[in-house]
Symmetry: C2
Subunit: 153 residues, 2 copies
DNA sequence: GAATTAAGTCAATATGACTGACATAAATTT
DNA sequence: AAATTTATGTCAGTCATATTGACTTAATTC
């Protein structure tokens, strides 16, 4: 049971992450840049520490990628209002545009995959994906992504 | 629409691939070894060329990983019966055991994610995942994974 | 004032991938 | 029989993304 799902998930995820590659390559960016850009764009003013937590990488790994994104004018760092140690992260207009472009490619693939499926399928897929995530992490992720789920489950 | 699905898929896939990490680390293997071991175990006697096609990597990338798996006694290479150029790949008993262990971990997560979902959800998820894959690749993948789909769609 | 926190940096390393070129042996085509 | 193609492997160099551990600076909190 569910044997083939392992492999389907492997190939599905591969093509899903492959979509943005071409657009990213135009700026000499890779998937690490994509992830950073995406989460900064979706969470304007996020702290470096929180971003590290989301991505599950170390400061050093983020460092290089973030620096390149800042150097290329995609991400801006602003001092925290209350805590001046913080370097809050925001996308610039061009950074936002790129983030939107990349998101659109992935949304299109998701839409094509969901269209023609029975009513309620999107909700089933959403629940399935949520439950694939470690239970301890779910509520944090739901807050982060502001899913249609709200805080249910 | 479907915005949060991008992020849910990211986190779901991360935890999904994270399951086998501990078991792999005991042998000093990484995810590249896992993928090779998995597809060889599921397709005994596969040719190197076909495996390269499945994984979408180059000969050089496969080379190191495959050599380590052979050196550790996880994978065996046998000369082709009809074509003596071929080095057909098989898992050894211990390689098979490891592959099964890793698969079981991922199956458990999939089962936990699907349980309690409405009847027919597994089929919906299966169809969703298949349609996330590039259309040109689907029939090859279906043949490869011998999904309950058979050759439909 | 001391301890903690946020962020950044240095140095070294590992993993998994790449390109391009080349080598060998076996099979197939001409 | 010779030429070509195929299957596999290898050499050398490179790149992207990640790691660990140690250390610094500045700001906040206790």
């Amino acid at each position: 049971m569910a044997y083939d799902l392992i492999e389907l998930l492997f190939f599905a995820y591969r093509d899903f992450t492959g979509d943005p590659d071409e657009a990213l390559a135009r700026f000499d960016f890779g998937r690490a840049h994509h992830r950073v850009l995406h989460f900064v764009d979706r969470n304007p003013g996020i702290m470096v520490t929180d971003l590290l937590g989301i991505l599950g990488i170390t400061k050093q790994s983020l460092g290089r990628v973030l620096k390149q994104l800042v150097d290329e004018g995609m991400i801006e760092q602003r001092e925290g209002h209350h805590d001046r140690r913080q370097r809050l992260l925001y996308t610039t207009p061009i950074g936002h545009d790129l983030a939107v472009d990349l998101t659109r490619l992935q949304q299109r693939r998701l839409e094509r995959a969901l269209i023609d499926l029975p009513d309620g399928s999107e909700e089933i897929v959403r629940t399935f994906l949520l439950r694939m995530i470690d239970p301890e992490a779910r509520s944090d992720i739901l807050k982060l992504i502001r899913s249609p789920f709200g805080l249910k489950d």
